[in-house]
Each structure stands twice: as structure tokens, then as C-alpha cells.
């Protein structure tokens, strides 16, 4: 029983507490027992005290008033993970191509309580991901093979199949998934992918359902033995 063979190199935010470091060191020890990185502690981080939006911001020319806090390494891992969560497909770009990692940075750096808890989860979660990858594959997450990356995700991404002891990483993954989807589907590219066609002013009466949409619902309603009333 010796120390872990892979050196522990983690980009540490200057606000990260000593407790966190000790947690990270403990990982190394646990890892050597073949126990993965599940012993990593998820310490609290100091709250961000930057200025928020305020009660009367300029709504037509918005600015994000707080400084961004993720390190370059954390952003890289975020991008890698976001692109695994929702990979690009054909003409649909991957999240990292439409600013999702930058948005997650904006999110975790915001001076509000909900975002603070996400920050704790995400900063620690990104560190866990690297540690876990180093333990399993000898390299940080972004340098692991796609199949090795997925092997880690398979242990934390499915509600009913979370590997015992990995509940916290699963929680982290759930938040990343939720943030990635939200961030992606609020872009124009995301709108095109999901089929949101609004935010487009029109003249005259509201057009209502297309003939195709109307025919479809008529079929559904009548198929259930109910009465269809055209819009």
C-alpha cells in the first residue's frame, strides 16, 4: 500500500479551502486501494460576493456584471462533458460550438444562492471526473479515450443504475446535463433542433395550427373516441 502512482495535479481556484485539498489528497490514497475516486470529499466553497443584476437593470442591453471564475482546465473539461451529454449530430452543432461552456462559467460564477450550490457541485464534480479518470485510465478526463469517458458516465448518468458510492458524482452529472440542455436549447441552433418556431412577430390574426398539426390532433382525438372541434 503506497501512495497513488499518478501525481495529483488539480487546478485549484484560489477560493478553494484547505479542506478541499485534504479531500483531494485522500482520494489518492483511496484510489490506491482500487476504490476509484469515490472517497473524494465535496467541500463547501466560499460564496461569491460580486455584484448581481440589481432590481432595475437595463433590459434591452443586458450585461453580466460578475467576473467569471472557472479555470481554463475546468472549462475544457466542461466542454468535453457537455459534448458527451449532447453530441453534435449532422448539421446540429455540439454544445461547445454554441457557447455552452462559457454559459456554465457564467452560471457557476453568479453571486446567487442556487448558483452557488451548483458551483460547489460542479467545481468539485469536475475535479472528481479527472481524478476518477486518472485512477481508471491514468490520464485526466479530457485525455481519456471516448469509450473510457463513457464508461465513467455510464456509472453516474442513469437514475436507476448509479454505481454504489457514486451518488454525489451522479448528482453533479445531473446538474451538468440540465445546464447543458437548458443552455443549448435556448440558442438559435437549439431552437432549430427542437423545432421552436416562435419569437417571430406576425401580422393579422394568429395563424394557429398548420394543416398538418391540425390533422394530427384530429387523428389523436378521434382515435381516443372523443369529439374533435376545429380551432
Amino acid at each position: 500500500m503506497t501512495d497513488t502512482t499518478a501525481p495529483v495535479i488539480i487546478a485549484i481556484d484560489r477560493r478553494v479551502t484547505l479542506k478541499w485539498l485534504m479531500g483531494a489528497l485522500a482520494v489518492g490514497q483511496l484510489a490506491a486501494c482500487g476504490d476509484g475516486a469515490k472517497g473524494l470529499s465535496w467541500p463547501e466553497l466560499e460564496a461569491i460576493s460580486a455584484t448581481g443584476i440589481g432590481k432595475d437593470p437595463n433590459l434591452t442591453d443586458p450585461v453580466v456584471p460578475w467576473p467569471l471564475t472557472l479555470t481554463a482546465a475546468q472549462l475544457e473539461t466542461t466542454a468535453e462533458l457537455a459534448d458527451l451529454i449532447l453530441p453534435g449530430e449532422g448539421a446540429i452543432p455540439a454544445p461547445s460550438k454554441v457557447g455552452v461552456p462559457a454559459f456554465i462559467n457564467e452560471w457557476v460564477s453568479a453571486p446567487y444562492p442556487d448558483q452557488h450550490s451548483d458551483r460547489v457541485l460542479i467545481v468539485n464534480g469536475l475535479a472528481w471526473l479527472d481524478e476518477e479518470s486518472k485512477v481508471r485510465n491514468g490520464v485526466p478526463f479530457i485525455r481519456a479515450e471516448a469509450s473510457a469517458q463513457k464508461a465513467i458516465l455510464d456509472d453516474i448518468a442513469f437514475k436507476d443504475k448509479v454505481k454504489a458510492g457514486l451518488e454525489k458524482p451522479a448528482e453533479f452529472f445531473g446538474r451538468m446535463r440540465s445546464l447543458t440542455l437548458g443552455a443549448f436549447y435556448t440558442t438559435r441552433e437549439g431552437w432549430a433542433d427542437i423545432g421552436y418556431m416562435g419569437n417571430t412577430p406576425g401580422t393579422g390574426d394568429y395563424a394557429g395550427p398548420t394543416p398538418e398539426a391540425a390533422a394530427h390532433i384530429k387523428g389523436v382525438i378521434e382515435g381516443m373516441g372523443l369529439k374533435y372541434t376545429p380551432a
Binding site: D56, L59, P62, P87, Y112, Y185, P201, D205, Y206, I221
Partner: protein, 541 residues
């Protein structure tokens, strides 16, 4: 409304507004969530999202607290801007009906209003026509039709609304056109709705009714309206004969205390704030505040009963896409239908509710990933399959006034101006909890008929019910009545105690029907202002 009616009648009006001036062009119409901090989500600073029009307000305002009695929870939404909360209300505008004005006569609870529906019906017509309301006349029990030519044509139902209607028809639950203060045809300089951009952001084209694109500019045009913003009123001034001579306010820009004089004083600072001004006003020889010989000021605080359920409909999965933004609010709703079974005793709750519904293909927003699992291309497929297959049902119900729900002055707490703040007491009664149960059961039946599944089993009514004030329909703290002994004003909003002091906001409500209050606030304000104008003309005031 009062400013418009009175200036139109030739009177000079000074409007004192605690908030700042507001220009509807500030509304971020069509701006993408993506361009707002945090995709525009709710934050402690902007509690209804970045783009919500509220200025310097929300549930909490720095330096302007309110307090709650132990065991009470109450939420008070304020906005400090010209036009107040009309800049961002949802514009749902349902008329109160015959039963709603005579609740005590029907079931012995609460109090009756000092007039009947037929007395106010023509005023509703005038208000709806002036404001511009879309909807249809369905001739339903206690949901009165408007006069001929009053309503504007409602927008078409969207697919999911047609779907709900099919289910409702099968179990005798009506799904009919909603009524909203949104133009579908141009009137005066206001454009019709262009079917995009959430109305809560404010509507700079004037389609969604707000006083800053209508009543206030119209009143200004008469040349008779002076507006002072940043003027925080805290007291009504009386002369030795007991007549109101004006108000005292803090000019926020300079911090100085000022007085404004007038022949008539009209309070319309919102239900909570009007009660606060009355209770904070000093009257020589009396301790209960102003216009409060009945002891009813601050009492009878009511809000709408709120709760919600949400269901997933596999039948709507993957339905063909089209633009469902529409009027960015209700096209259809479920008015209360079960009056007969209340009378027969089969329903164990005395008053009704309506249901507001939502299920459009909208901007997916930050919640789009809720409840999803896994990752990769199957995740993408899940997101797309589920989009537009979930419908939310929101109860909006009647509350009966009760002795445990009121506001008073908290003598221990002052705001940053040194004005004593309001303290709220609030409690729901069994009536409201049973009503929540009725709603939950009725919606389950409807959802079931349409093959849907509840997203989660509704909580026990005591947990499922909204907090007091949360629905932002607070009314009743200076109720009108026919007897000076148990009401604050007469049916024209004139306080019984002070002949030239009027109230034209929701505080004068004698009951809180399930119908959202604002169209009735405006209708009463129009009727009361007409009465003031007549009394000014005849020299009575």
C-alpha cells in the same frame, strides 16, 4: 383609471407615484433569453426573470420590508414604477358574475357587495371596450356575457387546447376561450398583438393593456395631468372639519417631506399600501387611523387560492411543430362549472375556481432537461419527443374573508424612509383546502380521460395551496359596503368617514371571486371616478 376619467372630465389631477418614471420602450420585446444573464432565469434580484418589466420591486425590496405575525406566511409583490403592476400582469380578465356580488345571500359566508351585477354590467362593458379585451360570450352560469360588440375576437386554440377541449367535452368540464386584456384588432394608437414576446416584459406596441401605453398618456394629453414620480405618500392630511386637504409624501430624490393639496384625495396605491397609508395617518383624537371608524381597515385581506398539477400526455409526443407563441398567454381556460352541485350539497366547498392552462411549444428555457436521464443521442431524442407533451393546470380560486387574515401597522419596524411598515396575518380556512381537493380530483379525471399521467401526485391540500399573497391578487383591506358600521367605503369608493377621500384600488373588494381582480378594479375605478366627476361638477365636492 381615475386620472384618465377625472382629467377627461376637466379636473386637474396630480398623480403621486412612489416609483420611477417608466417608458414602455424599455420593454425587451423579442430579446432572446440567451442574451440575458443566466438565460433570464428568476434570481433574487429579478424574481420573475431578467426580462420581467418590474422595476425596483418583487417579493423583497431593499430597505422596504414588511413583517409577518408568528405562524403567518404572506408574500407581497410590489413594483415601484409608473403604471405599477399593470406593466407586467398576465392580462387575464374575467368578469365577476351575479353570484360573485352576492356571496353571502347565496351561502351565508362573507359579505355581499353594496350593489348587484346588473348595476355594474354597463361599467364592465365600458371598461372592457376602453381597455380592449379578447374573449367569447359563452352564456355560462355566473360567467356573464359582455355587451354586443364589446369583446375582441379571441385567438385560435392551439393543438393542446383543442385536445383538452375534447377531454373536457367528454366529462362536462368546459374549455372555452379565455378573456385577456390583449388587442387582436387595432384601437386608437395601440397595435394589435403580433403574437410574440412575453407580455410580462411589457408591451411597447400597446397590444397588452398597461396604463403606461393608454390611460396615463391619454390623461397627459388633456393637459390636466401632472405626474410626480419618486413621491412616497405616507399620510392623508385633514382639516379641522375632518375633510381631506391633501397628502404628505417623501420626495425620494431629495429626502424631503412635502405636502400636496387637493379638493379630492384618491388613494390607489394597491391594497396593502392603501391600508398602510390610512393606518399611518394621524387623526386628532383617534387611535385607529383614518377612515377606520368601522375598524375594517386592514381587515378582510384576501388573495386567490392557488395550486397546480401537471401532467404528461403520451398522445402529444412528437406532435408536428408550428408556432404556438400566440398571445403568449391563455387562449383557452376552464371556467368554474360545478355551481349546481354546490347548491345541492354534493360538493363540500362553497365557492368556485377556474383553471389556467399551459402546454405550448415555447422557448425551451433552462427547465428543458428536467426529469431526463442518460446522455448522448437518446437524450436528444427524449428531449424532442417530450417537447409540447406536458400540460400544466393552475387553480385560481375564491377565498372567503376570515378573521385571521389582515394587515396592521408593525409599530416596531420602519422602512428606510422612517415610515412604519405593514405586518401581515394570514390563514386559509377549510373552505379553501376543500376547494383545492375538488380541483385536484377534477383535474385527475380530465387527465385520465386524455390518457395522461400526473408528473407527480398532488400534495395534500394544506401543502399544495399557495401562500397568502403569492398569487398577487390581494384585495379587501378597505372594503365597500352598504353600512358604515362594517365597511370602509360606499359603493362608489367614497370613505364613509371622509366625504372627499376615495379609494380606487383592490382594497375596496367586499369578496374575492375566483376571477382575477384587475378588470374589476378598473371597472370600479371608472364607476367611482365618474361619481367623483359628477360631484365635482355639481359643486358637491
Amino acid at each position: 383609471m381615475a386620472a384618465w376619467m377625472l382629467t377627461k372630465a376637466g379636473a386637474s389631477v396630480l398623480m403621486l407615484e412612489a416609483g420611477r418614471d417608466y417608458n414602455p420602450d424599455e420593454a425587451p420585446m423579442l430579446n432572446m433569453a440567451m442574451d440575458a444573464p443566466l438565460r433570464g432565469i428568476n434570481t433574487p434580484d429579478k424574481e420573475f426573470g431578467f426580462y420581467d418589466a418590474t422595476v425596483d420591486g418583487g417579493w423583497k425590496m431593499p430597505g422596504e420590508p414588511y413583517t409577518m405575525a408568528e405562524g403567518s406566511e404572506f408574500m407581497w409583490w410590489r413594483s415601484r414604477m409608473l403604471g405599477g403592476r399593470t406593466n407586467h400582469w398576465a392580462r387575464n380578465s374575467f368578469r365577476m358574475g351575479e353570484y360573485d356580488f352576492k356571496p353571502k345571500t347565496r351561502d351565508g359566508l362573507g359579505v355581499d357587495w353594496p350593489f348587484e351585477y346588473k348595476d355594474i354590467a354597463p361599467w364592465y362593458d365600458r371598461t372592457e371596450k376602453l381597455v380592449g379585451v379578447y374573449g367569447s360570450n359563452d352564456g355560462l352560469e355566473n360567467h356573464p356575457n359582455s355587451g354586443p360588440g364589446v369583446l375582441q375576437t379571441p385567438p385560435k386554440f392551439r393543438v393542446w387546447e383543442t385536445f383538452l377541449k375534447a377531454g373536457g367535452d367528454a366529462i362536462n368540464v368546459p374549455v372555452v376561450a379565455a378573456r385577456r386584456a390583449v388587442l387582436t384588432k387595432k384601437i386608437d394608437e395601440r397595435s394589435p398583438c403580433y403574437w410574440a414576446s412575453g407580455c410580462g416584459r411589457g408591451c411597447s406596441i400597446g397590444a397588452a393593456f398597461q396604463t403606461t401605453t393608454s390611460l396615463i398618456p391619454w390623461a397627459k394629453k388633456t393637459g390636466k395631468l401632472t405626474i410626480a414620480t419618486g413621491a412616497m405618500v405616507y399620510e392623508v392630511l385633514l382639516d379641522s372639519s375632518g375633510k381631506a386637504t391633501g397628502v404628505r409624501y417623501i420626495d425620494k430624490a431629495t429626502g424631503t417631506h412635502k405636502e400636496a393639496k387637493g379638493r379630492v384625495v384618491v388613494l390607489a396605491a394597491s391594497t396593502g399600501e392603501t391600508a398602510r397609508i390610512l393606518l399611518n395617518s394621524q387623526v386628532a383624537g383617534r387611535s385607529e387611523g383614518l377612515a377606520n371608524s368601522s375598524g375594517q381597515v386592514g381587515r378582510n385581506l384576501m388573495d386567490t387560492v392557488g395550486s397546480s398539477v401537471s401532467a404528461y400526455f403520451p398522445q402529444l409526443e412528437g406532435r408536428p411543430r408550428y408556432n404556438e407563441d400566440g398571445a403568449m398567454g391563455l387562449h383557452a381556460y376552464i371556467p368554474f362549472w360545478d355551481y349546481k352541485r354546490i347548491v345541492s350539497g354534493e360538493v363540500d366547498t362553497p365557492r368556485g375556481y377556474h383553471v389556467e392552462i399551459g402546454g405550448s411549444f415555447g422557448d425551451p428555457g433552462m427547465g428543458v432537461g428536467g426529469g431526463l436521464d442518460g446522455y448522448g443521442s437518446s437524450l436528444r431524442a427524449d428531449v424532442k419527443r417530450r417537447y409540447g407533451a406536458r400540460i400544466g393546470f393552475t387553480q385560481r380560486g375564491e377565498m372567503i374573508p376570515n378573521a385571521s387574515s389582515f394587515c396592521s401597522i408593525d409599530t416596531n419596524t420602519k422602512d428606510k424612509f422612517g415610515i412604519p411598515v405593514l405586518k401581515f396575518n394570514f390563514a386559509w380556512a377549510d373552505h379553501e383546502l376543500k376547494q383545492v381537493k375538488h380541483f385536484q380530483n377534477a383535474m385527475k379525471e380530465l387527465i385520465d380521460k386524455l390518457g395522461g399521467t400526473l408528473v407527480s401526485e398532488p400534495a395534500d391540500p394544506a401543502k399544495a395551496i399557495s401562500k397568502g399573497g403569492e398569487i398577487i391578487h390581494e384585495v379587501g383591506t378597505a372594503r365597500m359596503g352598504s353600512d358604515a358600521k362594517d365597511s370602509v367605503t360606499n359603493q362608489f369608493g367614497k370613505t364613509w368617514d371622509v366625504d372627499n377621500l376615495y379609494i380606487t384600488d383592490g382594497s375596496v373588494f367586499a369578496s374575492k371571486a375566483h376571477k382575477n381582480p384587475t378588470i374589476t378594479i378598473m371597472t370600479l375605478a371608472m364607476r367611482s371616478s365618474d361619481s367623483i366627476a359628477t360631484r365635482l361638477r355639481t359643486g358637491e365636492l
